[in-house]
Amino acid sequence: MDGELLSDTFVELTDTMVVGFDVIDFMHMLTNRCVELLDVSAAGLLLADPRGELRVVAASSEAARLLELFQIQSDEGPCLECFRSGQPVQVPDLAAVVHRWPQFAPAAGQAGFAAVQALPMRLREQVIGALNLFRSAAGTFDRADIRVGQALADVATISLLQERNMRHSDTLNEQLQTALNSRVIIEQAKGKLAERLGMDMDMAFSLLRESARTSNRRLSDVAQGFVNGTEGLAGLNASGPRPPAPRPPNRPGF
């Protein structure tokens, strides 16, 4: 494990009081760091919406995000169980638990995942969501990886809840709703970009992120400007040559 990246990540996770702090960027950073630091293929993050449902807030890949969405839609899977119980759920071999999750287990296999570790985002009695780690090969997760993953989830949870207390307002709920709506804006932008350049959604998302990074702006702002047609994308010549024919898009069933 990259010790320097790990310590940098903990610093990043406590840095919620900065001006322009953005919950969705924060969650994306957490899922990306999990993939960089731990022996996992992908990570996804679910947070509880006050409406009463779990929502996918961030994921390190489109496949992981779709699988998280699928769990919510089919109302079964280890991440949901983890959230409801507030306890970690470990599934070293998804193929062996089809009877337990008849919809989720095959869908995970189709998405290329063979093992899942779900970690609660929890402070005392309050469970605000779940961090889920996916691996493409079956087998138990490394114990050190699980401990570090849980520590990252704990620090992120404390940072978010503390941020709310420090500002004497319901900032977490305000920002969560903003983040959920940002997620919608990003999906709309992905669709628009995918259609314009004839590419798949994953590629469109990468381009949007790249554009945000190049212009040093928030992903949601870049996406909103692009959807509203008030601005182009930095680092992207939108009227430029079209890339090769589109790859078959997302598998039906998701």
Binding site: T178, V184, G191
Partner: protein, 252 residues
């Protein structure tokens, strides 16, 4: 879960509308929200493009005054909710933070009788239809349950405002409504619906709001579920024609 909550919220709105016998409107949402969320009053401002809002509905005199104050002073939870794209939950207007944030509006709102204001943007991603605000004479945060309800009331108002646009544009019934005229619950399967809406802006050469209206109108006209239709568009099995009258879609 959300399904039962949106069903309950919808039945409250429908019961409200049954009292006057007309079609369900955003005004019914405001009145039903005041009772269910246990606040004093509510108002709703519809977005007119990116410009400052146009007052649509108020439930009482104080709400009207509060709405006007925000427009006049150009500050307050409502304008902030519209700008940030998230709710603004000002549970105590006497607090230093509130006064610092809205130096003119906070004291004026207290004068008008509001101790807490909760503003909810009526939006679907980049589609903005307005802001719904709730006020209460007593300070204090909304409970988690009340907040959940308030968000679902705001979702309902969003769909009703979009329906009103559908009807203006196409004279058709509300495309996103499910059985019994209930607005479609968009929280599930929503990524594909959002992606399809984005794709339609390009296919049809229209803005995002119009693209969503067209998506719903197509689903309604062809008696299809919005999520199934969206999935076909995202999978590029279906394209919509820029001319709504032609209805010549290329089935791949």
């Amino acid at each position: 879960m959300t399904d039962s909550r949106s069903a309950r919220v919808w039945s409250l709105v429908a019961a409200q509308s049954a009292r006057h016998g007309g079609p369900v409107s955003a005004a019914d949402v405001c009145l039903a929200a005041v009772a269910a969320v246990e606040v004093t009053g509510a108002w709703l401002i519809a977005a007119r493009g990116a410009e400052a809002g146009h007052l649509m509905r108020v439930t009482d005199k104080a709400s009207e005054l509060l709405a006007e104050l925000q427009v006049t002073l150009g500050e307050g939870p409502g304008p902030d909710a519209a700008a940030s794209g998230g709710p603004v939950l000002a549970s105590d207007l006497d607090e230093t933070e509130a006064v610092r944030r809205w130096p003119a509006f906070a004291p004026a709102a207290r004068q008008a009788g509001a101790a807490a204001i909760f503003a909810f943007p009526l939006q679907l991603g980049a589609i903005r239809t307005g802001v719904m605000s709730l006020y209460r004479v007593r300070s204090g945060p909304l409970s988690a349950f009340q907040l959940g309800d308030a968000l679902v009331f705001a979702d309902t108002a969003t769909m009703l405002l979009l329906d009103a646009q559908d009807q203006l544009a196409y004279g058709a019934g509300p495309a996103g409504t499910g059985p019994g005229g209930q607005p479609a619950d968009l929280t599930r399967h929503r990524a594909e619906i959002d992606q399809a809406t984005g794709m339609l802006t390009e296919q049809l050469g229209v803005g995002i709001g119009e693209a969503f209206v067209r998506l719903r109108a197509y689903a309604y006209a062809h008696d299809r579920r919005l999520s199934d239709l969206a999935r076909d568009i995202v999978a590029r099995r279906l394209r919509l024609s820029p001319d709504p009258d032609l209805r010549e879609e290329n089935q791949a």
